[in-house]
């Protein structure tokens, strides 16, 4: 069974048909990149996997999204349980106005974990996993706002990973960062792939080709092509994909 399956997904914002009949399968413990021009629906699609679009008024979804074979929009699914298993990293680093430690511990605390030693252990593990530990271990009680943008984003990755999700959604996680920070985030993605299934939305085609196993190209709400990243970037089957990756539009 594939980790994530989307079946004939259609999504509307009011009258706007944002996603048109998308079906795809995302294999377990792989990195899948969504590319495409702004407004093509790739972020909207990503946000369906942890039901972040539930918050959008006037949104309508048809079709099915299965994670581990289970329909995540079924009425018996508790959305907070789902999000515990499907973590997310956003475009802009969004640390909480709390200490570095409390940022990482937050996900555990809001899910009822009280054991202080366990939390401390998890925080350390997550910060090490996000290659941030050495930079912050002396100042875990300092405000997360004192970190640089790149560090904040790695903190947000640690925060998401501390809950031990099986899927990590990344919505243009490096687009607000400088090249060095971006490289660090990409390294992290490569290191985390054996622990989680990663779906990453990116504007940066080099990034998609560097980090992902499979790539899906979206255009005007449709998924034009989805294949092994190597093939998409060397030998795309559709002309639109070819045009986009060679920079002729988008």
């Amino acid at each position: 069974m594939e980790k994530i399956e989307a079946k004939e997904v259609n999504f509307h914002y009011g009258d706007f048909h944002a996603l048109k009949n998308i079906s795809m399968e995302i294999p377990r413990n792989k990195v899948v990149a969504f590319i495409g021009p702004s407004g093509c629906g790739k972020s909207t699609f990503l946000r369906l996997f942890n039901r972040m679009n539930d918050l959008v008024p006037g949104a309508r979804l048809s079709g099915k999204i299965l994670i581990d074979g289970k329909d995540i929009y079924a009425p018996d699914v508790q959305v907070d349980e789902l999000r515990k298993d499907v973590g997310m990293v956003f475009q802009r680093p969004n640390p909480f106005p709390k200490s570095i430690f409390e940022n990482v511990a937050y996900g555990l605390r809001v899910n009822g974990i009280k054991d202080k030693e366990f939390i401390a252990g998890k925080v350390e593990e997550a910060l090490k996993g996000a290659a941030l530990w050495n930079e912050v271990k002396e100042k875990l009680n300092a405000s997360a706002y004192a970190l640089s943008g790149g560090q904040q984003q790695r903190l947000c990755i640690a925060r998401a990973m501390a809950v031990s999700p099986s899927v990590l959604l990344m919505d243009e996680p490096a687009s607000a960062l400088d090249p060095i920070s971006t490289a660090k985030i990409e390294e992290l993605i490569c290191e985390m792939r054996d622990k989680v299934t990663i779906v990453i939305v990116t504007h940066n085609m080099q990034q998609a080709s560097r980090v992902s196993d499979k790539t899906a190209f979206f255009y005007m709400g449709e998924m034009i092509e989805y294949d092994d990243t190597k093939l998409i970037f060397t030998n795309p089957r559709k002309e639109a994909t070819q045009n986009y990756i060679t920079g002729r539009f988008g």
């Binding site: 918050l55 515990k84 969004n94």
Partner: protein, 293 residues
């Protein structure tokens, strides 16, 4: 296309216009500061003479022509506390509801419209309403309870509005970050949104306290005593209050000439209380902001 021909001397003209506009703004700002200092100075000069330990700690005596204003100070502080107990929880929770929970439809618009209308109601009307509802209908009589409830109602719109505005400015990304970790909406509000909004909410609360401390009309029919030299022992007692005391000894005292210094002294104490509260508010806000940055 031709290059545009820029008018001669325009650049110098627009810089002169800017300099003139800023000069006017600066002068007007200074004028406001000047007026404020004039008022404060006037009160201090007229009132400082009567300020003494006895004035602050003793009850009025000799038909309020001598003695102190201690019961009025205590009364004002009690009314501020009482109105805070009434307005803060209700107002903050309403603000949270309107910004975080209510769907952005006509219900919120209607509540907001009503809140705005409420803040435009003259305070004497609050006084009348408080008398009808709390004093008469609910039978609290002229009391600290009735006065606090009336003042609480008066400050509700301000508390609701500032809470709502404070929460509105918190970026959606922060909320999403919390929800994406499996937090519920309530946890998100309680652990992330409220702490972030706290500095501004507190500013609103303090402003409302400042307003309450100076209101006379709402307590006129609901609480304030002309002369009540002992301290209240229950919330069903009447009490004296600084603004009302000021009003009384300036308009219907036994010997208005002799009472004039006392009136200025009372005004000075009232202003100092408000200043102290604003100062505390600033410190409190700094404290919360420090927790955030």
């Amino acid at each position: 296309m031709d290059r545009p021909t820029y008018p001669e001397g325009y650049s110098a003209r627009k810089r002169r216009a800017q300099a003139a506009a800023f000069a006017v703004c600066r002068i007007l700002s200074l004028l406001i500061v000047l007026i404020l200092f004039a008022i404060l100075g006037f009160i201090v000069i007229k009132g400082a003479g009567v300020i003494s330990w006895d004035f602050l700690t003793k009850a009025p005596s000799d038909g309020m022509t001598s003695g102190g204003i201690f019961p009025a100070i205590v009364g004002t502080l009690l009314l501020m506390l009482g109105s805070a107990v009434v307005a803060f929880p209700v107002g903050i929770m309403s603000g949270i509801y309107m910004n975080e929970y209510a769907s952005k439809g006509w219900v919120v618009k209607f509540i907001r419209l009503m809140t705005n209308n409420l803040s435009g109601v003259p305070s004497i009307v609050f006084g009348l309403f408080g008398m009808a509802l709390f004093v008469k209908y609910l039978g609290f009589g002229d009391s600290i309870l009735a006065g606090s409830l009336t003042l609480g109602l008066l400050s509700l719109p301000l508390v609701i509005r500032t809470t709502e505005e404070a929460l509105k400015d918190i970026p959606a990304g922060i909320r999403e970050g919390s929800l994406a970790l499996g937090a519920t909406k309530l946890q998100t509000i309680w652990k992330v949104v409220l702490p972030m909004g706290m500095p501004r909410i507190i500013t609103g609360l303090i402003l409302s306290l400042g307003r309450v401390s100076g209101e006379t009309a709402p307590i006129l029919f609901t609480c304030a005593a002309y002369f009540f030299p002992q301290l209240p022992t229950s919330i069903l007692d009447q009490c004296m209050a600084l603004p009302y005391h000021l009003y009384v000894i300036s308009t219907s005292g036994t010997d208005i000439e002799a009472q004039q210094p006392i009136a200025y002294g009372t005004a000075l104490v009232l202003i100092v209380i408000v200043l102290i509260i604003n100062l505390l508010a600033g410190l409190l806000r700094k404290h919360f902001e420090k927790g955030l940055s």
